[in-house]
Amino acid sequence: MGMNMLKKGDAILIGVFAVVIVISLISMSIFKNSGENAHKIAVIKMNDRVIKKIDLDTVTEPMEIEVSGAYNEVILVEKGRIRFKEADCPDKLCVKFGWLSEKGDMAACIPNNALIKIEGSDKKVDAVTN
């Protein structure tokens, strides 16, 4: 029948849909980008329980965290990285691990039931044998 003139109600309806579409697009792109650029979150676990989570990217000053279990240990946190600094466990493998700086990196002191890791993984492999 030819082009009808858009009534005011129709214009509002179309406007609402347009806003919904725009909001969906924006939130989708935020969600996608957040996965890639998300911060490195370090997790400290003692006896299989998370005792601390630290956003490594927001660390400004180096800080030391003491953990005590069967053994005493000092964990050092700096911007973007974390490590076991001191430990009085027998073989000090945890300290020898050195710095964790990538997502998926993990170090543990098995005798002390202590574990530190950086969440996530952007590694080429899902796991490595040992």
Binding site: L6, F17, V128, T129
Partner: protein, 345 residues
């Protein structure tokens, strides 16, 4: 007509965009300590957390039964009754003992769980770097013989023939536990998961997107998590053994934890690492030790006896060899770390 068309178009667009959710499933990941190491799980399932608990519980039960590093359990009973009496054992333990004997026979003693007395003497885990005397090793060798594990199938009991003999399941218990973990996943309807028991990897299915799991083969001379190659697998166990896991150095010599049951000394067969890829992690675990002790040639011969078992051998001159069946699923990545991939003609 144009107006209705516009409205329908807008509705469709709005609905499709708002319904567009993240199509990549997020796995549940967890690490816990058990069996003297880190147990890492990655599970794709709505009930993943509970399932991972079930797996850890099962693993701890297995550890309690089979450990000789803590009091209690069945193997401690078996060992303390050596040369004296039969001991009642659970199905789990009998299964492991039978499998161990089977691998012992096929590897002609390169794998032998009765090395326990020697393992105890070397005491590598303690950080004590003392090399036992030749006399001591020689006398303990008399206690090593898998044929002395007497299994009374009808009575579900077993006995060690001679006093002083010690069974140590360190080279096979994690392998057993890995397969039991997969059973728990399957019982719960999980289709995509993997578990790492201190680096023994067992994968269920592939990834949710249908791709294979990518598992790195540890570089025996590199840092933790460094690898010389990648295998792409579905429904497989991948286990490595090497001289880099537990060792001490004395006067420039490396004494590692994989003892040769025939000599009583750490195996000196020209290898620094072996990796087995197999359907069951109990086989992979025991065979990776056996192959390491046997060396490249005899190790390859051993692996060829098994259908569907593949292997990677890394020699002490940093050469990497693989079995036929791995061609196409093994990606060599060791050039940067000084390794050479050798194609066997």
């Amino acid at each position: 007509m144009t107006k209705s068309f516009l409205i329908i178009l807008c509705v469709l667009l709005a609905v499709s965009f708002s319904a567009c959710s993240n199509s990549v499933a997020t796995p549940y990941e967890n690490e816990e300590f058990a069996m003297g190491t880190i147990i890492r799980q990655r599970i794709y399932h709505d009930n993943a957390e509970d399932i991972s608990r079930q797996v850890i519980d099962r693993i701890r039960k297995i550890e309690d039964r089979m450990t000789i590093n803590k009091a209690g359990g069945e193997i401690n009973k078996l060992n303390s009754s050596a040369g004296k009496s039969f001991v009642e054992l659970s199905e789990d333990t009998l299964f492991v003992l039978n499998k161990a004997k089977e691998i012992s026979e096929l590897s002609q003693g390169a794998f032998d769980i009765t090395v326990g007395a020697l393992v105890k003497e070397w005491d590598i885990s303690s950080g004590n770097s003392v090399v036992p005397s030749q006399e001591r090793i020689h006398s303990l060798l008399g206690l090593v013989d898998y044929a002395d594990i007497i299994i009374d199938k009808s009575g579900s009991r077993a006995k060690l023939e001679n006093t002083g003999q010690i069974v140590d399941l360190g080279g096979i218990a994690k392998g057993f536990a890995g397969d039991e973990a997969i059973k728990v996943y399957r019982e719960n309807g999980v289709q995509s998961a993997f578990i790492s028991l201190g680096g023994n990897i067992v994968a269920l299915g592939g990834k949710p997107d249908g791709n294979s799991w990518k598992i790195g083969i540890r570089d025996p001379r590199g840092a933790e998590d460094s690898y010389i190659g990648i295998v792409s697998v579905k429904d497989k166990a991948i286990v490595s053994s090497g001289d880099y896991e537990r060792f001490f150095e004395r006067d420039g010599v490396r004494y590692h934890h994989i003892l040769d049951p025939k000599t009583g000394y750490p195996a000196d067969s020209g290898l620094i690492g072996t990796t087995i890829i197999s359907d069951f992690s109990i086989d992979a675990d025991a065979l990776s030790t056996a192959a390491f002790v046997l060396g490249l040639e005899k190790g390859m011969d051993l692996i060829k006896k098994f259908d569907g078992v593949e292997a990677v051998f890394i020699t002490d001159d940093k050469k990497v060899y693989i079995t036929e069946g791995l061609k196409g699923i093994f990606e060599f990545e060791g050039t940067g770390n000084g390794y050479e991939y050798v194609e066997k003609g």
